[in-house]
Symmetry: C3
Amino acid sequence: MYKRDLVSITDYSLDELEALWTLADDIENHPRRYKSSCNNLKLATLFYEPSTRTRLSHESAMIELGGNVIGFSDAKASSASKGETVADTMKVMSCFADIIAIRHNLEGAAMVAAENSRVPVINAGDGGHSHPTQTLTDLYTIRKNFGRLDNLRIGFCGDLKYGRTVHSLIEAMLRYENVSFVMIAPDELKLPKGLKNNIIDAGAEFVETACLEDALPELDILYMTRIQRERFSDLSVYDRLAGTYILDKEKMQKAKEKMIVMHPLPRVDEISTDVDDDPRIQFFEQVMCGKIIRRALILDLIERGSEEPIRRWEDIDAEGECTNPKCITHHERGLKPKYKRSSNGSLLCAYCDCKIKNE
Amino acid sequence: MYKRDLVSITDYSLDELEALWTLADDIENHPRRYKSSCNNLKLATLFYEPSTRTRLSHESAMIELGGNVIGFSDAKASSASKGETVADTMKVMSCFADIIAIRHNLEGAAMVAAENSRVPVINAGDGGHSHPTQTLTDLYTIRKNFGRLDNLRIGFCGDLKYGRTVHSLIEAMLRYENVSFVMIAPDELKLPKGLKNNIIDAGAEFVETACLEDALPELDILYMTRIQRERFSDLSVYDRLAGTYILDKEKMQKAKEKMIVMHPLPRVDEISTDVDDDPRIQFFEQVMCGKIIRRALILDLIERGSEEPIRRWEDIDAEGECTNPKCITHHERGLKPKYKRSSNGSLLCAYCDCKIKNE
Amino acid sequence: MYKRDLVSITDYSLDELEALWTLADDIENHPRRYKSSCNNLKLATLFYEPSTRTRLSHESAMIELGGNVIGFSDAKASSASKGETVADTMKVMSCFADIIAIRHNLEGAAMVAAENSRVPVINAGDGGHSHPTQTLTDLYTIRKNFGRLDNLRIGFCGDLKYGRTVHSLIEAMLRYENVSFVMIAPDELKLPKGLKNNIIDAGAEFVETACLEDALPELDILYMTRIQRERFSDLSVYDRLAGTYILDKEKMQKAKEKMIVMHPLPRVDEISTDVDDDPRIQFFEQVMCGKIIRRALILDLIERGSEEPIRRWEDIDAEGECTNPKCITHHERGLKPKYKRSSNGSLLCAYCDCKIKNE
């Protein structure tokens, strides 16, 4: 099965990403040239859990390329409820579609999907593991605003402990030169240690602070996320802190004139609506960028139908289960474990990137 | 954001409605001329509550114009469940679609949608408040049958107290000359006083009766609705009455030869299936009319992309909450109240048309 | 209402089936010739219960013919929940679509649909009654592999008592010459007596066995189905038996080189994944065949729009209710019973083929 997939953002090299931005710009500037590029082709959106924005972004992108869409938006409508494996479902679905976008609650599900589909697979989110089209969207938004992805100071604010979007964007930005990071979060929601070490190992500049107001003036980009009340064991802490991390008109006055504010959406109340008219607020433009980059991605994957697929595991003579209970290896019948080594040599599950037990 | 919307039937002037009927007739007579009118355009059907008929009518209309469809058919599949406001959702969705049809359970939601979307919005029903494409459908069906919308005697039968469809059609018919009304309902389900006064104020002829059989011979149009058992505090009253309001073969013999029977569907048992073959039964033709007029509406709204939008509120220096608990102003974060004055000078909520508290 | 439907596999004569295989082969060999055959036409998929595979197979087929799709994938989204009859829904839906595929939990629902739709209706499964597009798929898969539908030895393995797919394929294969049957099942799940008698009456060779391994060497086709644990009153019997009916690498060694294995999918564990690479495993090819034959079916039905519809009942002066509690006659308001005679003269319900009470 020759074809390329997007399971993880690292499936694309920096050069391939650069080509993708160029293609996206060209599609946006000359939409008519591409309006029939996917005529007679079908995208299947297989959403085992609902995510309207992500689903409709993919569907819009495909339709704007002249293609068609089939699929489901909820697991109850799928054969999963009848006990079918992801592997079998993908073998069936690749009889119907020319490209597949899958959203699944289990971590590593997208890799299983890619390995069993005859057609390109886009990971539209597999649990807390990975959501590479969101990262593509974020990178493309930054590049559109600054013309570059290096030499930037980016602040992340809010829930840095659990935020998958934040983790992925940090990892992606570490591939570019001279990016410095400011992590703005309360103690309860600070960046995980492992990721912090990755930043330090990469030699990138790194600051931690609890104060949004102080950090703002130096930033090129402020990436906001929502703080969930449920994350706090002591709710009085939450109530005291919450306001500190709300971006409003007053705080915006401290930011650079060319700074931009991003947000993966939906927002709840972490950004006051009274700043929506500020031109630095870019989260609805981010949605538009998401649609544009997905057009480029779909087209790129379809055109690379004869390439050798990415290999995501190593031939390691090992045994042992994945330590992640949400990993697909614990839920998919007949799925054999696959391994890889982390940079520091420890054995990882190739599906979800978590550690292997008793190794 | 220049563009027109259909939030309420009064968004269209009588002249604009006339132009819409003409366009609808032309589309129906020359479907091939219009089969590519919406090529490369997308309708989003955002249905926060299910309504298959209304949704598929819009979707069919768009497809017959050569357009495409994206969307969701149930709130659970939407970002609303993650706490996103209607305003934010519309800002996102108007990145994906060229025109939006929204169905929402809250009253006034369609106005919020229109004010936050960059693309035209069609109100496909906002709670008990308004359902203007149903009213368009009803008006177009009458006009197709009689060649006119004035000089008609129209009977409404069934639940006249709660029936949103009935209320909207009455308001719409009051804009035409010499329309007389016969209200056929049990005491429990009589027309609300306010609406009755509107009819009287407009100088239209108006009769109330409890007997369908007596009213039938004089009618040009009989508009049937369902009587819901739950509406009666004393169920024995329901059981005694129900049969009286069932239209059957025997009753149809008393009606004019050119009379037509309409129904917003679904019917339950208020119209006996043994009259379905009677040519005066027009409710399935009404469904067809609904699809045709929606084609005209979609095309019209898309072509009016550069017009000043309708302004639905007045600059009134007031305070006070809407008295309607189902109004969106009580549920949407960050939504400021907007006001307008009724013809008799009282202060109304601009979103749902209900009174403002303590004013 | 002139048009043809597919309510039951017997709606198509053997000659019509032959023409359908030829059309399917031609579409597969020359897809470009047919890629605009259904331009400007709409398929409605009305799925009162979810069935992703069957729905997407129809939708893919329609799109590959250049057509469009509307519909719903779950009953909750439909007007059925508001008490609308199948008959009324079909009258409405045939205003929107040019062809309809309906899936319903009630037996006989597809016949009601066909009788009330102005456009061709495809039965995509009506309860335990009939699922003719699955049977078409199975027949077409066999014909593609062997070039014929006669002179074959076909084994059915697993749940032969309740398996609708099995029953339909047996009835369909009985129309061809010199087909012999091997029924492989535990005592608890043997073929129903009535169907067994049909095979004997048709003069076809017929063997029953409890041992898959013994039966394998002689088979041209092995049709596997899932054994459901719930079917056994004594679970220890299930636990003892289950393994016997699992197809694995070892058992496959006993089969002919040109034998094929079919399965209606989804499989659970009745076929070990370690045989998936065996070229005799044909169930994913079966999915592909399902899409191809549905393209032919849709095209054929649309082109036969002026033919006299099939008559599925006889003018019998009878009274009496259907004995099948899952028959639509017990659930659809205003539906009059229709009768027919079985080959042995007993009175049957024309909708679901079950016996009539007290006759």
